[in-house]
Amino acid sequence: MRPFKLPPQILRLVLLTLIIVGSYLMARAFLTPQSFGEYGWYRGDAPEEIAARTPIFAGEQACDKCHSDIVRKLAADAHQTLSCEACHGVSREHADNPNIPPDKATSHYCLRCHEANPSRPAWFKQIVVKDHYSGECIECHLPHQPTQQPTSTP
């Protein structure tokens, strides 16, 4: 019986395969991010990176810190579901530095919701502007207490 000898072409193939597999493993070890697979088949650091963005809207808690009287007034009346920044605009800068004034709320914001539209739900108070009044809304309505009227109309 002759001793077994590995044919050289087989040896070359085996070595080539090992080199390919080895370089793949090396590349994978270098290129796969450390956190890949931490929670699932994705980069575990990605949610944290997405969360690193700075919020733009300050949120009602921020308004409540200084303007709690108005926030309370608002919560007691029909506009209780309204958030401050819905009418006063993005107020992050103002919340961080009170010297920067927030946007001025205009009657444009009133009409954005209250102008009559057949698609709006029936329970919602709507007006046909041209039949209602041609002046400013705040002449007759208090935005923070919509069921009350201003005490001194100009």
Binding site: R12, W41, F57, E85, R112, C113, F124
Partner: protein, 284 residues
């Protein structure tokens, strides 16, 4: 043994034999394994150094496994002001143009033709500019409308998300807290997920050339704030909460206990975690 190989009887002349001894091969193999182990240790050290010295600005005390977010939408309450869609654009820096992470659709169902046995006529759906400027006027004369309403739309946070199955690189995923997110560093911009989403909630950003979608304002909810659309909605049509940290009188719990909840396209089996109350059968 094949006859061709047996002709090489003088193996000591074979250069292959002299180049690769067993000892040498084993040494090389051991070296390679040691090298791989050293790399992984070096990477761990690098990561530890990075987390120690580099502050990412992300909230540190947020554990995604401790939360499970849920969004409910009340179609009866939406007044179509479009503040949510506008706020979303501002909050997330969504590019100008027809790109929306949340938007409002207006459904107009016309009256049936006279003499027909149908209960309703045609259904028209529009969303001018995604509703970011609100809705003014009506494309159909008022006397021809049988029914009309607004439906806010966003990513449906599918439990079995088709977009995640379609992504070839693992760039989109469901975070342990239920938010379906896109990793912008991994996204190739191939657009498969955009085609796969049955709700049209994704778009290819013309700025980053990656897929973008609603993140549930991940940068806000991880800081204890509400998503911008929920924060801004003047009609409380959007109710948002954390199923793992429900308060005793949580508005979310109250809402889904007192309403019959529906999902969009239930026949697809995507199991959305965005629930609707008061949906019409025409809404898809």
């Amino acid at each position: 043994m094949p006859p061709a190989a047996s002709t090489h009887s003088t193996t000591h002349l074979n250069p292959m034999k002299t180049q690769f001894s067993r000892r040498g091969a084993l040494l090389r193999l051991g070296g390679a394994i040691a090298g791989l182990l050293a790399i992984s240790t070096a990477r761990k050290v690098k990561a530890a150094v990075q987390t120690f010295f580099v502050s990412s600005g992300a909230p540190k005390d947020y554990d995604p496994t401790e939360h499970k977010w849920l969004m409910c939408l009340d179609a009866n309450k939406c007044i179509g002001c479009g503040l949510c869609a506008e706020a979303c654009k501002k909050e997330n820096g969504v590019p100008e143009g027809p790109y929306f992470r949340t938007w409002i659709e207006r459904y107009i169902i016309t009256k049936p033709k006279p003499g027909s046995v149908e209960t309703r006529g045609e259904t028209l759906v529009d969303s001018p500019d995604g509703g970011i400027h609100g809705f003014t006027g009506c494309p159909v004369p008022e006397d021809q409308i049988e029914q009309s309403f607004f439906v806010p739309k966003l990513c449906n946070l599918c439990e079995r998300a088709p977009c995640i199955q379609a992504c070839p690189v693992g760039a989109t995923f469901t975070a342990p807290d239920g938010a379906v997110l896109v990793d912008p560093k991994y996204c190739l911009g191939c657009g498969f997920c955009i085609q796969a989403c049955p709700y049209g909630a994704r778009f290819l950003s013309p700025v980053t050339h990656t897929a973008e979608k609603c993140t549930l304002c991940y940068h806000r909810i991880t800081r204890g704030l509400k998503p911008a659309c929920v924060e801004i909605c003047p009609a409380q049509a959007r109710i948002f909460g954390d199923l793992k940290n429900l308060k005793p009188d949580d508005p979310l719990q109250k809402f889904y206990e007192s309403n019959r909840m529906q999902v969009l396209k239930p026949y697809l089996g995507t199991e959305p975690r965005v629930l609707y109350a008061g949906l019409d059968e025409e809404v898809r």
